[in-house]
Every structure is written in structure tokens, then in C-alpha cells.
Subunit: 289 residues, 2 copies
């Protein structure tokens, strides 16, 4: 059955094919943040579809995990980027929450510490690469080093400008070592961000998520869009493509990224490892205890 | 409402009170591995009760997480110990799977690597202590250093004998620094283990979980029980008590440990952090963008 679905996917490219950014100049304003590509139903349908993915995605996740335990050298890295409130945490809670936490390696990157700053910007990223059999998830990533670092002049232009190539080399190395990289830009509108920040202010149980700096960053929205355009254009490679996920609708965002993970797992097609012992012998040994 | 439930728990001790091992000599043979203390219903009831815990436990988990983000210094450490197949992984999949993976720090301890062996046995354990606001889960732990290390003579008796005190000092230090420690022994019978190993041999999708060494270890069952008796007796402290969880019934084991986590979260009673900014000012600033 997995084989059959694989065939279907190969035919139509799946959701990965639909959301993948083509090479060439990038203009995010051309992509509707409220669109739901690949999904025809309502919000309720989307939530039901999401729940329906749980069993299948966790089954495939376990196969990948099992493969990694028995010598397999493959893993998946999901990179989540997007403006504040775009829902990186929500994807992890709802999407990753469908999976076995033992098979996940989740890393949330904040502003680098002084110790991290004294090393190259990829140093801390390398520590977080998922080992064999795991699904790694980055909540923000090395892309911050060509986003906020560029927009807010945290380093000189000559420094951030070199980073695009450094990122491409790093990601190619990862891909060659068995990591399938999925880079997702969670695409929200400035208006939707305003609504979400307002909700955080209105609801005392969400005050802890609100940071006055988020309002400061809103002033730099066009600069951030320019920086995303550059990052997606210069680092959208064959080995590590970028995907743009319309994210004004939370249910679509969660369904889409989980579906992309599922498609990725299926394309890797990990199989249950064969016994590395003689089953009949072991049955006898066990029976004798 | 949280306050009210706290009162009820204080009154009856909750499941934590029921499963907590009293001080003094330990004899695990006195505890029925198929018992379901604190739960009167059937397997189906147990599974339904487990599902029903999801929303509540993840709400409390988020409160603890939020507290940790805003200066709180508390965390929880769940230590899972038990014989092979006792279900440490199952508890994580089903129990931890109810929670937001962003708030979990799960560490699975295998046989120490050469680099780890060159350090004290607690070195790698300290790396895995959950930071503020997180729920840490150990799948095996420093207790292996007084279990397999003792039973299989991996170190001299004079070495493992000192470790009980070292563990107590370590755990007291953790407790004093804000870590609430829950040490759970997943109590299965040797017969139940045999059934579970047989299942792994009968089902090709479970062969990867089977290790011929597990049958070798079964011969040392009485020695392991002695080692558990010593560990529970010598390291069952006021600051870091041991709990014995009957685990022949998987549904009970999962429900019980999740319930104990929930009781622990409620007793910590983390509150949504208050705004560290002026809400009215921020609303005006946001509106102006």
C-alpha cells in the first residue's frame, strides 16, 4: 500500500511538489497567506484530516527509528522559519505531537549566547543535527544569521553575505551524509500577525508569550521580507529546497507540514530491519528459561 | 479549581501516596505485578481515562514551561527503571506523547561509551538534567550503575557500594535546586517478560527490538531483584522517593505514571506568569503599527 501511494505521489509531486519554491527570484507577495493548496475542505475537515494522519505518520516514524537503530544512516531535518507568531511552536505541538517523542530531536534557537558567539554561527547548529533514525526539528535555525543578523545589522554586510554560501555547503554536507532537509517558511501576513499579537495581549494566559520587541520588529517587516527573499533564492537548492507554507490558517499550516513530513517518510520508505539473530534458536533459548 | 484538587490530594495522598515505597527493607515479591492500585475499572476504562488526562496534563505542562521562561527555576525529572520489556519506552510513547514535545527532555541511557566511562558515572547524567520549566524523562538512568554494574560485576563491589551515597547526594542537590524527582520502578513478573520477548520473536516488525542478550539477563533475574531491593531501600529518600508501579498491565502502567506526573504538576501549582510589560501601553503601540 505504501508502494502504491508512493506511485501516486511520484505522479503528482504531492504536497511537497506543490509548495516547493522554484529556483529563480522570489517574491513572497505573490503567495496568498490564506491559501490552502492541496486541501479542498473546511477548517473542521482539516482538523479531522490532521488527526487521521497520526497513526500513519507515527508508524513511518517508528520504521525510520528502527532502521537507525540497526545501522541505517538516514534522518530528517525539518527547519521551521517565519515571522513572530507564524506558528513554529504550534506546528511542533500539533504535528510533532502526533509522533513518538523518543524519535524527535527538537531544538529551539534563541539569540546566541556569548559562548556561542565566540564560535562560527554554524557551531551550535551542528550540535543539533539529528542522529540516525531521528526526525530533527529546528524552531528557528542558522537562517536567523542571514535574517535578523542582516536586518538589524548585527554583523557587517561582508559577514552575512558570505553566509549564504556557507549555509549551502553545510546543508549539502548534511544531505550527503543522509539527512533529508525540509525547510519551511511559515507565510503569514502582517495583518494576521497583528491579530495574533493582539490575542496575546488580550489573554492573560498568553502574556508570557508576548515580547514588546515583537512590535519593534514589525517596523522592519519589509526588510525581513527582503531578507527572506534572499535566503530562499540563494539557499533554495536541489539538496535542500525551500517550501512556502501559507500559514494564516493554523489548521492548514499544521496539516500541510505534517503531510509533507509523511510524504518525506514515505519517499525514504524505511523498512522494518531484518533479524540479526536466528529466530528459531532464540525461541528455543527463551522457552528454556 | 487547581487549589481544590490540591486539597483533595493532600487529604488522600493521591496515587503518589499509594505507590510510594515506605522506608525500610524492600521486598518486591510482596507487590502484585498485575495489580491496579487506585484504578477500579477495566482495560477499556483505563485507556479512556488515559485519553481523558491529555488536555489537563498538557495544560499544566505549559504552565510549568511558561514559569520556566519567566524566571521560574523548577522542573520535573521522571526516572524510569525496570527489567527489559517492562515498558519504559511505552510510557514515553503513550504518556509523554500526550504532552508538548517542546517541554520535554527525554534521554535514553545505553551502555556508557568509552568517553563516558573515563568520567564519573554521574557525568553523563548531569548533562541530561532538565532545565527550568521542562519535564525530563530518563529511560534508564544512573541506577544502572548499581544494577547491571553490580549484577554483572562491571566494577568492583567497593566501587558500586559507594554509589548509593553518591546518588543520594546528587539527587538531594537536584531537589534543592528545584527539580522534583519521581523515580518509578516498572514492576513486571518474569513470566510476563517471557510473554513479551516471545511477542518480539513472533512479530517481524518487532525483531529490531529483540536482543539475544535479553535472554542471558533473564538468568540473573533474582540478582537483579536483589539489586533493585538495595537501590530502592538505600536511595528511597524524602527528597527523591521511589514508586513501584505494577506493570504487567500496560494500560495501567501508562495511566498510573501519567497520573503521577499530573499530581506532581498540580502540587507544584505553576501559575501563568504575570506580564512583565504594561499591557495598555503595548496595546497602543501595537495598534499604531
Amino acid at each position: 500500500m505504501a508502494k502504491q501511494k508512493k506511485g501516486q505521489k511520484a505522479e503528482d509531486g504531492g504536497l511537497l511538489g506543490q509548495l516547493r519554491m522554484p529556483s529563480g527570484p522570489v517574491d513572497l507577495t505573490k503567495y496568498d497567506t490564506r491559501a490552502t493548496p492541496g486541501f479542498a475542505g473546511s477548517k473542521d475537515d482539516g482538523k479531522a484530516a490532521m488527526e487521521g494522519l497520526g497513526a500513519e505518520v507515527s508508524d513511518w516514524q517508528e520504521r525510520l527509528f528502527a532502521e537507525g537503530r540497526k545501522g541505517g544512516q538516514r534522518s530528517i531535518l525539518l527547519v521551521l522559519q517565519g515571522m513572530d507568531t507564524s506558528g513554529k511552536g504550534g506546528v511542533i505541538r500539533h504535528g510533532a505531537g502526533l509522533m513518538d517523542p523518543q524519535g524527535l530531536k527538537i531544538t529551539s534557537f534563541k539569540a546566541p549566547t556569548p559562548a556561542e558567539k565566540r564560535r562560527g554561527f554554524l557551531w551550535r547548529i551542528r550540535q543539533a543535527v539529528p542522529s540516525h533514525g531521528l526526525i530533527g526539528i529546528f524552531d528557528r535555525s542558522h537562517y536567523e544569521d542571514v535574517l535578523i543578523a542582516r536586518v538589524r545589522n548585527l554583523v557587517a554586510p561582508s559577514v552575512w553575505d558570505k553566509r549564504y554560501d556557507q549555509i549551502n555547503e553545510f546543508e549539502a554536507e548534511l544531505a550527503d551524509s543522509g539527512v533529508t532537509i525540509l525547510k519551511c517558511y511559515l507565510h503569514i501576513s502582517a495583518d494576521e500577525q497583528k491579530v495574533r499579537l493582539q490575542e496575546r495581549l488580550d489573554n492573560p494566559t498568553k502574556h508570557w508569550k508576548y515580547n514588546p520587541g515583537d512590535v519593534d520588529e514589525r517596523e522592519f517587516w519589509p526588510d525581513y521580507m527582503d531578507a527572506y527573499h534572499a535566503a530562499i533564492e540563494r539557499c533554495g537548492t536541489e539538496k535542500a529546497p525551500w517550501y512556502v507554507v501559507p500559514s494564516d490558517r493554523k489548521w492548514y499550516r499544521n496539516w500541510a507540514i505534517t503531510t509533507m513530513l509523511l510524504e518525506t517518510l514515505k519517499s525514504l520508505d524505511p523498512q522494518w530491519p531484518e533479524a540479526d539473530f536466528d529466530v528459531a534458536t532464540e525461541k528455543k533459548r527463551l522457552a528454556a528459561t
